[in-house]
Symmetry: D2
Subunit: 359 residues, 4 copies
Amino acid sequence: MASTFGSVLRVTTFGESHGAFVGAVIDGLPARLALSEADLQPQLDRRRPGQSDLTTPRSEPDRVQIVSGVEKGLTLGSPVALVIANRDMRPEDYGELLGAPRPSHADFTYRAKYGVLASSGGGRASARETAARVAAGAAAEKMLRERHGIEIVAWVRSVGNVTAPDPDLAALTREAVDRHPVRCPDPATAEQMAGAIRGVKEEGDSVGGIVACVCRNVPAGWGDPIFDKLNARLAWAMCSIPATHGFEWGSGFAATRMRGSEHNDIFIKKGERLGTTTNRSGGIQGGISNGEPIVFRVAFKPPATISRPQQTVDWAGGDVTLQPKGRHDPCVVPRAVPVVEAMAALVLADAALMAAAVR
Amino acid sequence: MASTFGSVLRVTTFGESHGAFVGAVIDGLPARLALSEADLQPQLDRRRPGQSDLTTPRSEPDRVQIVSGVEKGLTLGSPVALVIANRDMRPEDYGELLGAPRPSHADFTYRAKYGVLASSGGGRASARETAARVAAGAAAEKMLRERHGIEIVAWVRSVGNVTAPDPDLAALTREAVDRHPVRCPDPATAEQMAGAIRGVKEEGDSVGGIVACVCRNVPAGWGDPIFDKLNARLAWAMCSIPATHGFEWGSGFAATRMRGSEHNDIFIKKGERLGTTTNRSGGIQGGISNGEPIVFRVAFKPPATISRPQQTVDWAGGDVTLQPKGRHDPCVVPRAVPVVEAMAALVLADAALMAAAVR
Amino acid sequence: MASTFGSVLRVTTFGESHGAFVGAVIDGLPARLALSEADLQPQLDRRRPGQSDLTTPRSEPDRVQIVSGVEKGLTLGSPVALVIANRDMRPEDYGELLGAPRPSHADFTYRAKYGVLASSGGGRASARETAARVAAGAAAEKMLRERHGIEIVAWVRSVGNVTAPDPDLAALTREAVDRHPVRCPDPATAEQMAGAIRGVKEEGDSVGGIVACVCRNVPAGWGDPIFDKLNARLAWAMCSIPATHGFEWGSGFAATRMRGSEHNDIFIKKGERLGTTTNRSGGIQGGISNGEPIVFRVAFKPPATISRPQQTVDWAGGDVTLQPKGRHDPCVVPRAVPVVEAMAALVLADAALMAAAVR
Amino acid sequence: MASTFGSVLRVTTFGESHGAFVGAVIDGLPARLALSEADLQPQLDRRRPGQSDLTTPRSEPDRVQIVSGVEKGLTLGSPVALVIANRDMRPEDYGELLGAPRPSHADFTYRAKYGVLASSGGGRASARETAARVAAGAAAEKMLRERHGIEIVAWVRSVGNVTAPDPDLAALTREAVDRHPVRCPDPATAEQMAGAIRGVKEEGDSVGGIVACVCRNVPAGWGDPIFDKLNARLAWAMCSIPATHGFEWGSGFAATRMRGSEHNDIFIKKGERLGTTTNRSGGIQGGISNGEPIVFRVAFKPPATISRPQQTVDWAGGDVTLQPKGRHDPCVVPRAVPVVEAMAALVLADAALMAAAVR
C-alpha cells in the first residue's frame, strides 16, 4: 500500500521534498464534519521548520489548502484533498550528494529499489513528507475531538541522555508542552535539552530522543484482535515516521524485567465503568482499548545529516568525503511531536469508524 | 482487516483456543513451491506447549494438516489452507473466570467490544492462535529460503533481569538456539534464565523477556517508502503477537542517546556490492532493506495468568479474588521464538512479492 | 486479493474440487448474531449437485460444519470458519484431460499462469468452489434479514431462448421459485425450460441462461461513490461466479435504446419517504441504494463440459479429440440461483457495515 | 475503498465537479517509466467537453499537471499526483435544483447517505470525476504499451437503436475511431448515430448507447481465480463509470441463448503458442487471460439531465417541476470512449503487476 494508510479512514500522501507540492487525500471522513484550513494549520505550524534556533533554518510557511471534499465549512463525505506548496527549495545544495550515498540516509536503498533518485537525494524519504501526515492527522483529530472528546498530547521525553520526569498525564496540555520550543513540559529539563541540542549543533553533530504520547477519553472497545490490535496499528503508524527506531506502549521494554504480580493492572470500579488501578497495559488489552489513557513512546535516532565531514563511497565504491550544505535539524524530536500526534489520530479515527462498522 | 495480514501474500487465521481447530488460509503463495506438512511441523513443535518444565503443561500435539492448495507436494497457486486440531481442552478450568475480568487479560475489552465472551475466557485472545501464524510463517519461510537463501533466526535475549551477550549474528543457527530449552544460545546465560523462570514458577508468578531476531541474506531493495516501510511492517507484525509491549530495530531505543556521528553507518565496498561498516540501521534505511542483516528485538510482558490469588472485580464492580486453575507459561519467550520467526517470514515474503510486482 | 472478497465483511474461500474440503473464513461478522449450521444448510442444499435430473449426478451431501467463531449459537465476533467435505471425488475421470486443455475451460490459463494443474483439471476453477460462497453468503444473509429485514430472491429468467415473464417482484418468494426444480417461478415457462435442458442433455450438449435477482428492503444510503458503487460491487461479485458472461441492473442493456425522458425514474412521496414511480435505476442511483428494490440479472454461458466429442490440441499443439467422462450440468442456472443470492448477500452485508462505519 | 481502485497499482481520485480541481494519486507505478503531461493530455482531450455539437457546451481546457512522482521525465517510483483545474464552473445553474432531487440523479441518494449535498448538486457524482480516471488510465496505458505492447481501443457500438457492424478487431485504431466525432469507426453508421443524437438534443431529450472495447497483446496468465478474475475486475471497473447499466465480455448475454457445442472456443496451434479459433470467451478463461484479444461491451443509459420539464418532488414531498439550465450531453458514449479505455488500462496494469508478484 506504500503511500496509503488506514482501513476505513484512508490517507494517501504524495509529493517530493523538492517538488511543487506535498499533499494528502483523506478518504472515508464522515460527512458534515466542520472542517477548514484553520483546523489544520496550527499543527502544521508546530511541525514547520524554522520555529526556533533548535531546528533547521529551511523556511517554509507550510500553508495548507483544502482543494476538495469540503464546502461551506462542512465535509461532503467525499475525499478531502489538501496540498502544501514547497517554497524554500534549494536542490542545488544536494547536487554533489547524488554521486555517493549519504550514510544512514535512504539514497542507497532508494537507488537499489528504484534505480533512480530524486534530485534532492531525499524525495519521498525526506521528513518533508510528514507535513501531509500532520495535516491529515489534524482532520482526523477534529473528528475524534468533536465526536468523542478525545485529546491527544505528545511531548519530548528525552533528548540524548537528558530524560524528563513523567508529567501528570491527566492534565498535560499542548500549551504546556509548547511553553518551551524543545516541547518538553518540564521547564528545567527543557532547558537542559535545549542546551544539549545547541551543543551538538555547534559541533556539527546531531542527537536522538524520545517522544511520548497520551490519548485521553478513548472509549473501551476500539481496536481489533489478532493482526489489527490497536497497539499493532500504532506500532505500524509510529514506526513509519522517518528517523524512528522503536516503539513501546504502557510498560514497554521495562515490562520485560517485571513479574506478573507487579505488572498486572487490577480492575476496580471507577464511577459507572470498570477501570484499572495502574495502567501498565497502556490503555490496551488484547489489542482493544480498555478506557484508560493510551500511552506510548517512540524512539528517534540522531538525524543522519550532520555538517561534519563524513566518509562514504561513491556508487562505484570509490572513497568520498561528504560535507552536506543542506539545512537540517540537529534533533528531530521537537518537530516530531505533532507528527506523532497526527499518526495517533489517524489510527484512532480509523479504529473509531471500524468499531462503528461491526457494532 | 483483523484476522488477515499481508498485501500480496495474505494470511487469514481462525479458531478459538477451546474450539475444534485453529487454522490459517495462505493466499498468494507462488505455485510450484515444494511444500508439505513436514515443512511446517518443526516450527510448530518448537512452539507447542509441554516441551519442558519451563512451559505450560497443556499438552497439544499440534499436528498440522494441509487441506488445500498443495497437490503431489507442490503448491498449486491456490490458497493453502491448514488446520491444527485442539486436543487438550479443559474449558471447565475457566468456568469461574467468566464472572469477572482477569487482570491484564482481554476478557474486559472483548466483552466491551463484542458483548460476549468465548467459554475459555480466551477465545481468539489466547496465545493458541499463534500456532496458525507459526504454520503459515513456515510456509513463507520455505519460499524465502528456496528462492533467496534467506535465514531467519530468533533467540531469547533476556528473561527478567538476565540478559545474554550478543551472539555472532553471522553464524547463529536454530540448532544453537535450541541447545537449551530456554532458547538462549549462550549456555551460561541460558541456565541463569531457566533458574529465573523456575523461580517465578515456584512462587506462582511469571516473568517477561526479550526475543531478538536476525534475518540474513535479505537483498537490498525490499520494503516500500512512507507507510509500508519494512520496519513499520515488522513493527506491525511483531506488536500483533500476544503479550508484546514493544519493538525496536538496529540501534533501537539506544539510538535516542547517541550522536549522528557515532550512529551513522558508513558505506564501504563489500565485494561486488556496497555495504556498511556498522549496522545501527538494522539492515533497513528509509524503510527499505540495504542488504545488511535485518536485526530487531521484541519485548514480552510477564504472562498475565499467574496462580497466585489476585484481586479484581466482577462485571458489576463487586470485589472478587481469582486463582486461576488454567495451565499457563511462567514466561513466554522460549515459545515466542518461532512465533517471532514466523511473523518475520510473513513480512519478508510479502515484501519479496511486492518487490517483484513493481520492478 | 484473489480468494478474499469484501472490505469490512471479508470472506476468504479455499479448497480444490477434488481435495478433502472446500471452505470459507468469514471475518468481520458482528458478534451476538444467532448462527448455526442450520442457517447455512438450506442454501447449500439448493446448490448441491444431484437435486434432479436437470443437474449433474455427482452426489455430494455438502454438509457444512462451522469450526470457529460461533459458541452457544452466537457469533463471537471472531472469524467464522466453515468447511464442507468433498465426498464423491473421481479424479480418475479427469486423468486423460490433463494432457490437453479442454475447450473454454480454465486448464489452459491456469497452466499458463501457474505452470501446474490440479489433478482434476478443475481445482479452484471448478464450480465446486461456489459451495463455500453459498455457505458464507447464507451467514451474511442472516445478518441482513435479522437486522434490516432484507429479502433476497433470485430466479431463472431464461434458459436458451425460453424467457419467463417478469414475476411480481414485491411478492416473489424462494418457495415459489423452488416449486419447479428449474427454479423459474412461472410454471408453464419452467416446464418449457426443463424440456430445453433435457433436450440438450440427450444430445450430449449444454445450454446457457439468465438468473435474475431482487433484493427488497435495502435502506437508502448504502454503497459508496466512485469505485465502490453498489452496482460496481455487485458487478464484481456476480462476474466472479464461474460461467458468467455479463451483468446488468435495472433497465440494463435495454437502457441503451431508451431516451432520458422515458428512462428517468420520477420521484414521488411514498408514505414517509421519497420513492420512484418506476425503477429503471434498479434501486441504485449514483452508486448508492435509493430504497427501491435492487434488481439485476446475470448471464451464464452454456457449460463448457459436454459429452460430445470435441476437438482440441495437446500442450505441444497436436490434435486431440476429447470426450469427457466427468459428471456435469447441462445447464447451470438452476443451481446458480443460490450462488447469485449468496454473492448479493455478501455485497449488501459489507455495504451495511461500511454504511455504519462512516455515519 | 470508495475513491481508491486497484491492488498493487492503486489510483485514488478526488475533487468535486464545481470545486477548484479534480485529480488523482497513482501509487505503485514502476520507477523509470518515461512519463509527462504529454502522455496524458491526448486522452483528456478526447474526454473533455465541448469537442463537437454532439456534446455538452461546458468548456473545459482540462489541462493536466503532474505535481509529484516524476522528475526529468521519468517516474521515481513514488506516487504520481496529478491535478486538473476546473474553469468553466457555473454553480448558479444548479441553485434551484438543490431544493428537489433530480430524477435518476444522485441527489437523493447522496443526501440520504451524507445528509449534505455539494452546491452543484453533482459533486463527486458528476461525470467530471472521470477526467481524473482518464489521466490516471493514460499513465497506466503508457506502462502497458511500453512494457507489453498492449493496445486498447474502445469505440461506440450503438446509439439508441443504431448499431454499428463489428469492426476488424485486429486492425482497429483510435485514429479510425476518431474520424467521426461520434467515435464509431463505421462512417455510415457514425453519421446515423450523430443524426440520432442531434434529434434527441433538439427535442431536449437524451439517448443511451453501448461502448465496446478491445485490448490486444495481453499475454496469457494475467488475472486471478475466484474473486479477482480479470472479467470480474473489468466488470467492477466498468460498472463504476457514471451512467453505466451493464457489462458483458466475449459472447456476453448472447451466450445465454447458445449451446456449449457452438459456444466453446476450440484450441489450435497459433505459431509458437496455443490459441483459439473463435473468441467467445473474450480473451479470458477461468478469470485469466488466454492470449486472445480481450473484448467487452459497456451499456450507458440516456443522461438523466434533459432540458425538458420534468416532474419530481421537493425534499418534503411537494410537487416540483424542474427544467435544468446546466449544460449537459445528449448522449455520453462519444466521450465515454476514453473513460472505458482508461479503466481497462487500470485493470490490466494492476493485473500485470500482480502477475509479476506471484511468478
